[in-house]
C-alpha cells in the first residue's frame, strides 16, 4: 500500500495504479472499527431502542443495504451499472417465499398453497425442490449465481459495457416481472406470495422470532461488508478497479477482464438474492411490484448518494434513503418521488463520489492551497470517483 502511495502522479497509468489502492478503501483499522460500530448499532442498539414495528422496518432497510453492498462492488469498484438487481432480489425472495408457503401448507395438512386452490392446480414441478429447507438455502445462493454467471460472462466476453450493460439489465428486470405477473395460477401473479405463518419451523408472528429474523439479517449484512472489504483490499480488488478504469490495459497485461467482472457481478447477485430471501420473512410479502424497473433503480439511488466506490457509502446511503423515504413520504406523499429524483441528479452532477466524498473533497480543498492532492486523497475528478461510463465512452471515442 505504501509503495503506490509514494508514486508520482504522472499520467494515466499512475493514476490508475493509485486508484487501485486508495480511494474508498479505508485502512484496516478504520474498516474494522467502522464495521464493528455498524454491527453494534444494528445488533445491539437497534433491538434495545426501537419498537418491534420500527425494528421490522429497520430489517427492511437492512435488506436494501445488503443489495447496496453488492451494487457498491459491481458499480462503484467494477464500473458495471447494475440496474437489474431486482431480478436477483426476486429470485432469492421467491425461493424463500415458496419454501415458506409449502411449510405453511404442510402445517395445514395440505399439498398446495391456498391461492392455488382457486385455480385447482396441482403443485407445479418447480415448487418441488422447495419442500426441503437445505435445498431452498442452496438454491437461494446457486440460482442467482448461475444466472449472473451466464449473463455476465457472455456479455462481458463480448465487451458489452457502460450504458448497454445497464439497458440489458433493465430489459432483464422487465422480462422477469412480466413472467412473474403471468404466473397467476402457479405464483399468484401480481398479488405475489404473502400470509406466511412459519420460518424454518418458527412461528413468524412471535415477537422473539421476529427479532431473531432481524438479527439474522443484520448479521448477514455485517458479514457481507466484511466480504466486500476483503474483496476491495485484495489483489482482485485492485484488478477490478483497474478493469473499470482501463479495461484494455488490463487485457494487455494478460488478465481476462471478463472473468474479473463476472466474479464481481455474481457476488453482487448473490448478495441481492440473500437480501431478497430475508426480505420475505421480515416484510411478510413478495410481489412483482417490489422487483420491477423502478425498485431496481431505487436500489442504486442509495448507493449513488452514499458513495458507490467506498466501503461504507452504499450501506449508509441505502439505509438513509430508505429511512428518509419512510419518514418523508408520510408527510409529503407525492413530493417524495421528486425529491428523490432531484437528490440523485444533484449527487450525480455535483458530487459524483457521493456524500462519502465530501470529507475527502474538503480535505483536498484545504490541502490544495498548500500543494497538489496526494494519491491517498484523490479529488472527485479522479477516475475512481468520476463516472465510469463517461470514462469508458471517452476511451471508446479515443480508440
Amino acid at each position: 500500500m505504501s509503495t503506490t502511495a509514494t508514486q508520482k502522479k504522472t499520467g494515466r497509468l499512475a493514476r490508475i495504479s493509485a486508484a487501485g489502492t486508495s480511494p474508498g478503501v479505508p485502512s484496516p483499522r478504520t474498516a474494522y472499527l467502522g464495521i464493528a460500530l455498524i454491527a453494534m448499532g444494528l445488533l445491539v442498539l437497534a433491538p434495545a431502542l426501537l419498537t418491534p414495528f420500527e425494528l421490522r422496518q429497520m430489517g427492511r432497510f437492512v435488506c436494501y443495504a445488503m443489495v447496496a453492498v453488492g451494487i457498491g462492488l459491481a458499480w462503484g469498484r467494477g464500473g458495471m451499472l447494475t440496474l437489474g438487481q431486482g431480478v436477483f432480489f426476486g429470485i432469492g425472495a421467491y425461493c424463500m417465499a415458496m419454501h415458506m408457503q409449502l411449510e405453511d401448507a404442510a402445517l395445514r395438512g395440505e399439498e398446495t398453497p391456498q391461492f392455488m386452490g382457486t385455480f385447482g392446480v396441482d403443485l407445479p414441478w418447480f415448487w418441488e425442490p422447495f419442500h426441503s429447507p437445505l435445498m431452498t438455502i442452496l438454491l437461494i445462493l446457486l440460482l442467482p449465481a448461475a444466472l449472473a454467471f451466464a449473463l455476465g460472462y457472455s456479455v462481458f466476453k463480448r465487451k458489452v459495457r457502460g450504458a448497454y450493460f445497464a439497458i440489458l439489465n433493465q430489459a432483464m428486470v422487465f422480462a422477469f416481472v412480466t413472467l412473474l405477473v403471468g404466473q397467476q395460477a402457479t405464483l399468484n401473479g401480481s398479488n405475489g406470495l404473502s400470509g406466511f405463518e412459519s420460518f424454518f419451523g418458527f412461528a413468524i408472528h412471535d415477537p422473539a422470532n421476529r427479532q431473531m429474523i432481524y438479527m439474522i439479517a443484520a448479521a448477514l449484512l455485517v458479514i457481507m461488508m466484511l466480504v466486500a472489504y476483503w474483496m476491495m483490499r485484495s489483489r482482485f480488488g485492485e484488478l477490478l478497479v483497474a478493469t473499470r478504469d482501463a479495461e484494455e490495459r488490463v487485457r494487455f497485461l494478460g488478465y481476462d477482464p471478463a472473468i474479473i467482472k463476472t466474479i464481481t457481478f455474481v457476488t453482487a447477485a448473490v448478495m441481492a438474492s440473500v437480501a431478497g430471501a430475508m426480505f420475505v420473512p421480515l416484510v411478510g410479502i413478495i410481489s412483482p411490484a417490489e422487483l420491477g424497473v423502478v425498485p431496481s433503480i431505487a436500489f442504486v439511488i442509495g448507493v449513488a448518494i452514499g458513495g458507490r466506490a467506498t466501503l461504507f457509502g452504499p450501506v449508509l446511503g441505502a439505509i438513509a434513503v430508505a429511512w428518509a423515504e419512510s419518514t418523508l413520504a408520510e408527510n409529503f406523499p407525492s413530493g417524495w418521488t421528486y425529491f428523490q429524483g432531484l437528490l440523485l441528479i444533484l449527487v450525480i452532477a455535483l458530487l459524483p463520489g457521493g456524500i462519502a466524498s465530501v470529507g475527502r473533497y474538503l480535505r483536498w480543498k484545504h490541502r490544495g492551497e498548500a500543494g497538489k492532492p496526494t494519491s491517498e486523497d484523490p479529488a472527485p475528478s479522479d477516475p475512481a470517483t468520476s463516472d465510469p461510463e463517461s470514462e469508458n465512452s471517452q476511451k471508446e471515442a479515443a480508440s
Binding site: A39, Q184, E330
Partner: protein
Amino acid sequence: MSEKKRQSRLTAYAAIGAAGTLVLSACGARAGEEDAAVAESCVDTDGDTIKIGFINSQSGNMAISETTVNDVLHMAADQINEDGGVNGYELEIVEEDGQSEPATFAERSEYLLTQECVAAVFGGWTSASRQAMLPVFENNNGLLFYPTQYEGLESSENVFYSGATTNQQILPALEYLKEEEEIESLYLVGSDYVFPRTANMLIQQWAEENDVEILGEDYTPLGSTDFSTIANTVAASDADAVFNTLNGESNVAFFSQFDDAGLTAEEMPVMSVSIAEEEVDGIGPALLDGHLTSWNYYQTLEDPENEEFVAAFQETYGEDRVTSDVMQSSYNSLFLWAAMAEEAGSFDVDEIREVADGTSIDAPEGEVTVDGETQHVTKTPRIGVINSDGLIDPIWEGELTDPDPYLEDYQWADDEEAAEYAEEAED
C-alpha cells in the same frame, strides 16, 4: 500496523460472535405449536376522540384512483363528526400512503394498528394490496374496510368488504348479456392479474352451462397499450359482445384500437367491469359512447341519498368532479362501521363483529345490509350505458343480491370444474 490490524480484526470477530449468541438466544415459539397469540388491542378511548386510519395510495400508479377514495372518506368523516361522532367520540384521522406497493400497504397498516392504535382502517384498492394487508389485520385483530369490487373467494374475520363480489357484478352482467342482448358468443379481454383471471374462469364455467361460446381469451400485462393485434382478432372473431376486465390506461388504447378496427357499440358492445365515471373521463367519452358497464352505483341514480351525496361531494371538491362505485362503497364503509360501533356501544373488534350481521344503512346506491357470515354487503346489480357526457345511465336493474363470495349457490361453479378449466388453460 499489523498489530493494530490484528486488534481491530479481533474486535470485529468479537462483535460478530456476540451477535451470533444474541441471535441464537432469541428463539421463540415453534410454528403450529399453539394458536398464534393475537396482539392486545391498544385503542385509546380515554379522551373524547377516537383514531381511525385511512390507507390509500397517494403516490404511484394507483394514486389517480385512490385519491378519489381518500377525498370521499374525508367527507364521510366530516359528516359523521358534524353529527356528533361515533359513540360520542369525535373521529381523528390518521392517514398513510400505500404508495401503490403491496409491501408498503402491509407495513403502513401495521403502523396504523400497532403504533397509532386506530380502531378501524379504511382503504386499499388492488387485490394485491388487500392480500398484503390481510395477515397484518388477522394477527393484530384489526378491522379493515375494503371498498373495491373484487374477485371473491375470500372472507376474513378482520375484513369488511363494502364493494361487490362476483355474484353481484360479473354474473349479473352475464345474465344481462344473455337475456337482454341475446348473445351467443363472447370474447374475453383482460389485464393479467388476479381479478380478470378469476372473473374469466367463472365466465368460462358460466358459458358452458348457458351455451354461450367463448371465442377467445386474451390477457395483456397491466399498463400495456398495444392492442392492435387483439382488436383485429376480436373483429375477426365476430363475437356478439366483448367482456372487458382491462384495468386503467390499457382501456384507452384498447377502445381507440377497437374503434380503429371499425367496431361499434351497436355491432359488438363491450361490457366493462373496471370502467366507472372517473375512468370514462380519462379514456374519453367519445370512444366509450354506447358501451356497457356493470356496477352497483352510478352518479346518475335518482334517489334522495344519492342526490345529497353527489351535491355534498361536488360542493366540497368542485363541480367538475364525478362520483363512482368504489367511491360510494368507501363512503358507505365509514357509515357502516359507525353504525356497527353505535350498535355495539364499543370500538372493540370482537364486539363489532358480533353485532355486524343485519346492520343496515341508507346508502346512495339504496339500502345496504351487512351479511355477518361473509362480512360482505347486499348489493343491487345495475347495468349502465355510457353516454356522450361522460356519465353512465342505468338501463337495467337486478334484484337486491346477497353476497356469495364462494358462489356456493351456483351449481356450476364447483371446484372440479375449476380444476378442469385450469388444466385446459395449462395446455
